[in-house]
C-alpha cells in the first residue's frame, strides 16, 4: 500500500519504514475511534520512539462577528523519529493552529495527539518537556543576554543551573555564537537571534522538534542555516514536524508532505508518491491540484 493518500479516503496509515511497528495505526475521521497509543505498552513505545501522532485533531474558534470558525478539522497524521514531516499549506490553511496544538499552546476542541508518548490533553507539561518549538513568533527576551536566555529555558525544562549553563555553553560552541553570550538579545543581529533561538529549543535535547514556518522573514543565509539545522535534527534521530508555504523548502526537506487546506489534510505522502499519484513532477502543480485551485 502506498504511503500517500488523499487523507479523507484512507482508513488507516501504514508505516513505510521497515523499522516502524505496523501496529501504530493513525485513526482517520471515519475509522474506529480510539488512540493508537491507548495502552501503557503503546505509550512506552511512543515515548521511546519520540513520535508525534495526531488523531482527528480539530480546533474551532469563536468569533464575535463570524460565529464559530473551524481552523482545523479532523487532522490525523503520524511522524516518526529521524523523519521530517512537512505541513504544506497557504496562509490561513491551519498550519500554525495545528502546530500550536501539538506544542500544547492551544487546546484542541476535538481529537487529540500524542507527543513522545504523552497525550497533549492529559499531560501537556510532559509533552512540552519533550519538544522544542520554534517559530517566527517565538521571540527572545531582549533584556536578557544570550546566555541567560538559554539558561532560563534550561532551568524551565528542569535542569539545575550548573547543568543548564554547561549545556548552553556547549550549544553556543556548536552554533558558533560563544563570542556573543554576554550580549543582550535585543542587540543581536537577526541571524544571531535565530541561532540563540535554536540553542533555546535544543537546551533540553528534546526528541521532538516542531518548526512553524521557521524561515519566514529570514534572508537567504539565515534561512540556509535554519534548513541545515532542521536536517541536523533529522540526522540525530529527532522527530521533526514543520510547516511551510514554500514549495522548494518542502521539496528539499520533507520525508513526508501533508498538504493542508482549509484546516483539512487533503493529501499526504513522500514527494515521489505525490508525484506518482498526481502525475506532476512540480510540487506547486501538485499542490494546486490538491487544493483545487
Amino acid at each position: 500500500m502506498p504511503n500517500w493518500r488523499p487523507a479523507a479516503q484512507t482508513h488507516s496509515h501504514q508505516d513505510p519504514g521497515n523499522d516502524r511497528p505496523t501496529a501504530l495505526k493513525v485513526a482517520t475521521p471515519d475509522s474506529a475511534p480510539g488512540s493508537p497509543l491507548k495502552t501503557q505498552a503503546d505509550q512506552r513505545l511512543g515515548l521511546r520512539l519520540g513520535m508525534i501522532v495526531a488523531e482527528n485533531l480539530g480546533k474551532e474558534f469563536r468569533d464575535k462577528d463570524r460565529g464559530v470558525i473551524r481552523a482545523v478539522g479532523n487532522l490525523s497524521f503520524c511522524c516518526h523519529p529521524g523523519q521530517i514531516y512537512g505541513l504544506l499549506g497557504a496562509n490561513g490553511a491551519g498550519k500554525t493552529t495545528t502546530l500550536r496544538m501539538l506544542a500544547t499552546i492551544l487546546t484542541p476542541t476535538s481529537g487529540t495527539a500524542s507527543v513522545a508518548g504523552f497525550d497533549i490533553r492529559q499531560e501537556p507539561e510532559k509533552a512540552r518537556q519533550n519538544l522544542g518549538f520554534l517559530s517566527t513568533a517565538t521571540a527572545l527576551y531582549g533584556r536578557l543576554t544570550a546566555l541567560e536566555m538559554v539558561e532560563y529555558f534550561g532551568c524551565l525544562h528542569g535542569l539545575d543551573r550548573a547543568s543548564a549553563r554547561r549545556r548552553t555553553l556547549a550549544l553556543f560552541e556548536r552554533l558558533d555564537i560563544s563570542a556573543f553570550l554576554d550580549r543582550r538579545c535585543e542587540a543581536l543581529s537577526t541571524g544571531l537571534k535565530q541561532r540563540v533561538s535554536i540553542a533555546r529549543t535544543l537546551v533540553h535535547d528534546p526528541p521532538v522538534m516542531i518548526f512553524d514556518e521557521p524561515t519566514s522573514g529570514l534572508d537567504v543565509i539565515s534561512a540556509r542555516t535554519m534548513v541545515d539545522f532542521i536536517r541536523e535534527c533529522r540526522a540525530s534521530g529527532k522527530t521533526v514536524v514543520f510547516s511551510t508555504h514554500v514549495m522548494s523548502e518542502a521539496e528539499k526537506l520533507c520525508d513526508t508532505i501533508g498538504i493542508i487546506h482549509d484546516g483539512r489534510l487533503l493529501a499526504e505522502g513522500s514527494l515521489q508518491e505525490l508525484r506518482a499519484c498526481y502525475g506532476h513532477a512540480d510540487l506547486e502543480e501538485i499542490f494546486m491540484r490538491v487544493v483545487g485551485g
Binding site: 469563536r62 500544547t104 487546546t107 507539561e125 527576551y141 533584556r143 541567560e148 524551565l156
Partner: protein, 402 residues
C-alpha cells in the same frame, strides 16, 4: 504548584525588569526622589508662606472714630498692625489685597464705652486669605482684651467682684500624644501616599510582564516551555508584588528621612509643628501599616496583571489602567476627609478600609477587631483577584488576543 519553577520565573522576571529603565523609574526613582522633592517643596513652601504671613505687620484701616480719640490712640499704639489712612473704598482694597483688614467704629465710641453702653465694632476681612486672616486675628485679640478690660473697670466702678461676669472658665488641654496630633493631619496623608504608590509601582511591571510579552512576541516562547501556566502566572505575580511593596517601602523610608531632615533644616517647620503638624511614626506603626498594605498590594498586583493580560497592546492596557488609578485614588482621598471614621461596614470596602485603618494606626489607635476584619477581607479580595489572573492565563483567547 511547583515552587522551584515559580522561583525560576520570579528570578528571571526580576532580573529582566530591573534592566528596564521604565520599571526602574517607576519602582525606585519615583518613590525615592519624587516623594521627598514633593514633600520638601510643599513643606518649605507652606512653612515660608505661613511664616511670612505671621511675621507680616498687616496694613489696617480704621473707619470712623474721629470723635473717639481714646480708642484711636490705643489702636495707633498697637505694634503689630500698621494703621493706614482711611478711604471710602476700603472693602475693595481688602479684596485687592492692598490692605489686610479694616475696623469700623460706631459714632461716639468713647462716649458709649464711658457711659456703660454697648458699642458695635465691625472687622472686615477677606475670609480664606491667610494674610487677611492674621490681620483680622490681631484686631480681634485687641478688641477681646479691650472688652475684658472694660468689663473689669465697670465692675470695679460698681464695687462688684471682678469675676462677676466670669461664671466659668473653660480650659482646653491636649492629652493626645504627639504622634496622635500628627496622626490627624499627616496620618491621613501617609497611607494615602503609600496606597497610591503601591498601585503606581505595580502598573508598569504588570503591563511589561503580560501585554509586553504579547507585543514583543515572547508569550509563545514561554508557553511552549514545560512550566505550567499557573506557576508562570505566580512567578510573574510575585515580581509585580515585589515592585508594589518595594515602591511603597521606599516611599515611606524616603518620606521619613526627608521629614526628619527637613524638621532639622527648615526653621519654618518648627512653627508648623507648634500648630499641630508635629508628626512621627513609631516602628510599631510602620510595621502594622505595612502588614495592612500587603493584602492590598496583592490585590493591586493580581488585578493589574489580569487587566493588562487582557489587553492587546500597551496602549490598550494603559487606557484600562488609567481610569483604575482614579478608582483607587477616590477611596484613598475619602479616608482623608474629616469625619470619615472606621466602622464595620467601611471595613469591608476595599482600599478605603486599609486607608482608614492605616490612618488610625499612624495616630496610635489599634482597633484589633477592625484590623483583623480588614486584613481578612483584603486577603479575600486579593485571593479572588489572583484566582481571576490565574484563570485568565489559562484562556487562550486572552493569551492570543492579538
Amino acid at each position: 504548584m511547583n515552587l522551584r519553577n515559580i522561583a525560576v520565573v520570579y528570578r528571571k522576571e526580576l532580573k529582566d525588569s530591573l534592566r528596564d529603565r521604565r520599571t526602574v523609574i517607576s519602582m525606585i526613582v519615583v518613590p525615592i526622589f519624587l516623594m521627598p522633592v514633593l514633600t520638601i517643596f510643599v513643606g518649605v513652601l507652606s512653612a515660608r508662606l505661613i511664616g511670612r504671613a505671621m511675621l507680616e505687620v498687616p496694613s489696617v484701616m480704621i473707619i470712623g472714630g474721629e470723635d473717639s480719640p481714646q480708642i484711636l490712640a490705643a489702636l495707633h499704639a498697637l505694634q503689630d498692625i500698621q494703621v493706614v489712612p482711611a478711604t471710602p473704598d476700603y472693602g475693595q482694597q481688602i479684596i485687592d489685597k492692598k490692605i489686610r483688614a479694616a475696623v469700623e467704629l460706631p459714632p461716639d465710641f468713647d462716649v458709649l464705652i464711658a457711659h456703660g453702653d454697648t458699642a458695635r465694632v465691625r472687622i472686615d476681612m477677606y475670609q480664606g486669605e491667610i494674610n487677611s486672616g492674621f490681620g483680622a486675628d490681631k484686631l480681634q485679640k485687641f478688641f477681646r482684651d479691650f472688652r475684658e478690660r472694660t468689663i473689669r473697670q465697670r465692675l470695679e466702678a460698681r464695687h462688684l467682684p471682678g469675676n462677676l461676669a466670669e461664671p466659668l472658665l473653660v480650659e482646653e488641654t491636649n492629652v493626645a500624644p504627639p504622634e496622635k496630633v500628627g496622626g490627624v493631619v499627616l496620618g491621613g496623608l501617609v497611607p494615602y501616599f503609600v496606597i497610591i504608590l503601591a498601585l503606581t509601582g505595580t502598573m508598569y511591571p504588570a503591563m511589561d510582564l503580560t501585554v509586553g510579552e504579547k507585543e514583543r512576541g515572547t508569550i509563545e516562547t514561554i508557553l511552549c516551555s514545560p512550566i505550567s501556566r499557573m506557576n508562570l502566572v505566580l512567578g510573574k505575580f510575585l515580581m509585580v508584588l515585589t515592585a508594589s511593596l518595594s515602591t511603597a517601602a521606599l516611599a515611606v523610608a524616603s518620606m521619613g528621612v526627608t521629614l526628619a531632615a527637613a524638621s532639622k533644616m527648615v526653621g519654618g517647620l518648627s512653627q508648623i509643628s507648634s500648630m499641630g503638624l508635629q508628626f512621627q511614626m513609631t516602628p510599631r506603626s510602620v510595621i502594622w501599616v505595612f502588614a495592612m498594605i500587603v493584602p492590598l498590594a496583592v490585590l493591586f498586583s493580581a488585578a493589574l496583571l489580569a487587566i493588562s493580560l487582557f489587553a492587546k497592546s500597551f496602549e490598550e492596557a494603559q487606557s484600562y489602567l488609567s481610569p483604575l488609578t482614579i478608582v483607587v485614588i477616590a477611596p484613598a482621598v475619602v479616608s482623608i476627609l474629616p469625619g470619615v471614621e472606621l466602622n464595620a461596614r467601611l471595613s469591608l470596602v476595599p482600599i478605603l478600609n486599609t486607608s482608614l485603618v492605616c490612618k488610625e494606626i499612624v495616630s496610635g489607635t489599634y482597633h484589633w477587631g477592625y484590623i483583623a476584619l480588614i486584613f481578612v477581607s483584603s486577603c479575600v479580595y486579593a485571593a479572588v483577584a489572583l484566582w481571576v489572573a490565574i484563570r485568565l492565563f489559562q484562556r487562550e483567547d486572552v493569551l492570543f488576543r492579538i
